[in-house]
Symmetry: C2
Subunit: 427 residues, 2 copies
Amino acid sequence: MSAETTFTAPRGMRDFYPTDMTVRQAIFKAWTDAARASGFDAYDACVVESLDLLKRKGGEEIVDQIYCFKDKSDRDLALRAEMTPSLARMVAAKQNELVFPLKWYAIAQCFRYERMSRGRKREHYQWNLDIVGEKSLLAEAEVIATALDALRRLGLGDAVSVRINNRALLAELLEKTGVPRDHHAAAFLALDKRGKIDDEALGTLLRDSGLSPEAVDAAFRLLQVQTLEEAESLLGGPTPASQALRELFDLLALFGCAGAIRFDISVIRGLGYYTGIVFEGFDSGHTLRALFGGGRYDNLLGDIGGRPETAVGLGFGDVVVAELLSDRGVLPSAVESRDFAIGFMTEAQRADAISIAYALRRQEQRVDLGLHAEKPKNFFARAGKGGVARAIYIGPDDTARGTVRIKNLADRSETETTIVALTTPTP
Amino acid sequence: MSAETTFTAPRGMRDFYPTDMTVRQAIFKAWTDAARASGFDAYDACVVESLDLLKRKGGEEIVDQIYCFKDKSDRDLALRAEMTPSLARMVAAKQNELVFPLKWYAIAQCFRYERMSRGRKREHYQWNLDIVGEKSLLAEAEVIATALDALRRLGLGDAVSVRINNRALLAELLEKTGVPRDHHAAAFLALDKRGKIDDEALGTLLRDSGLSPEAVDAAFRLLQVQTLEEAESLLGGPTPASQALRELFDLLALFGCAGAIRFDISVIRGLGYYTGIVFEGFDSGHTLRALFGGGRYDNLLGDIGGRPETAVGLGFGDVVVAELLSDRGVLPSAVESRDFAIGFMTEAQRADAISIAYALRRQEQRVDLGLHAEKPKNFFARAGKGGVARAIYIGPDDTARGTVRIKNLADRSETETTIVALTTPTP
């Protein structure tokens, strides 16, 4: 086995070295800060779920992409492919105690066994925002506005557009063109494949889901609709579904998002469980896969055996947004910074170095302490590599005098201070 | 299937509701803040590892407790039981690029398939601190002092004692009593079981690892040694191993830890790979399992196929420390707090409510916005449940006048301000 084979992570799984963690932590921080600002509470569930739960929900595609295994008591377990089934399970378990609407967020590692391409790994971290038990479209608005707030915090506020549709509008349009209700779910899943497969294959899929040749033609024409006005004129005027979209756009304008949102009839979402508004966020140039997506789902809690409850959710992965940060040249680059680096020339200075490091750390300073005696050249080469604000290097003369020099590594200025002053706690 | 069965997490796995997350986040924050103050860099690896890697390392016990499975290409994968093999793999993969000594930390979910008892689940989160490539005992001191700093940050600074030993000292003592070197590793593993199995079973284990009946008696006598002085007198004076312990105690005193540390010859650690100093942290009353443990390991990098490099590591789980927080009555209890709760009486006030929430959130205030029109009684009942600092409830009169009242929920005082002032960004 070659050294490379031996030391790499399993295929599709990622290692995070400190430089990679800088990026990941910046993304997690933006997610967390945005969720907290909007009043979401954190929750989490284990990455290992029962296979049964994932099957009870689960998009049609996802089930064969699940990593599954048996434990030693022959239980069927799986690594979750998404967080929503676990959320639904947790809500159902305490449905009589929890206060609704609830607004929860999680940053959840999720696994899918699939072919890899840009923006696709076999695991990723996904930020989940869910509002359960709220009918008002303000729920959709909160979730979308919070996602955009996270992007703003990452310096990507102007780099994103959210495409919004309503499955109820699609249903009205399909019905108008003669596709009966019980073929809608299959038609949605087929139409969602547009752009991923060619139109001929899509036509076959649609016919397989029970559409007549005329209905297939009509479905293709539907996807040409560019504006909400066009959709309304096909429907003979405003409908509940088109009015819901207009209301949502108004609400999002109040959240300062008017410039970032637009109607897009082709946004459908692959998962079977959406029942109303659906949306996807893309980079403005649409050069990458979706940054986030979500929508309203009314049936999930009931489907897994709980009391039915409406919900709105969003999933936002860490891979595509990291690519966008990189493409835009705004990738956070500094490894975690230190306020001080401290070094010492001989063992005789070690105790002073430790005492100073200890005192500074107690004052919430981040201190990198050299762990063995070293020459000044070596110490300053290391400290000068970036990310360090100030350096203290202690030699025998310093110990003798009882003073040290604090070097500001940005402007090379120095200040001298006594060791006693540095190590005596400020009152 | 009963509702309870349906909605629980898989056996041994934990759900974290928002109140549970408050505790977990407080622990993670203490770990992260302590690691950063001491100049450790974050890293991470995927919870899924190759089974081969875990087998190459892995304590003797651990291998049969691993959750393992095959992916669809028949690769043998596993959920890691501990982080150190992944750390060693990542270091080995970039051994020529990385700058040593490196100081890394991670908060890693780890899985073990074992019987459950207090302080034992089948998954837990473990804080890992490792210093790779540093011979000085200052590495051990940094790791132990950083663990104690995390406990201080949790309000447990005086609740813990660290018991420290040196496997090299045990080796010197075993050799002195006639146990040859090549039986030491087995003897360590057997001696580590003391207290977990009865002395008779322990004696059998020791004889099975190749010790003569006299050597078994001698090994039992060793474990009666109470002080470093006693150990040294058995050895005929100070030895390199006893001097290392004395030096480490001196270093830890400089980190303010003198009161929390003591020599304990019975601390051995179950894992086979430790080669020098070993330590375990316990609650002072020793009513719970170990809070953390670690030591120096010189052979792991070489064992998994890398270039040999000395290292010091620590693992600190989230379960026992949460129990200690609970036992001591210092469990963080508040669900994430909000700066504001905002509600509105009729749809006509909704736009004002959103605009105020949006403006406050932009000023880094955490705002819970009511998502539908509600009566003041309902709004204030919800807002008054704790964790909310101020409440703004908007009725028709407020909209008409263009003002709102901000109610301080702690002292019930009110201030009035204009909606324009609240929603206009401060320059």
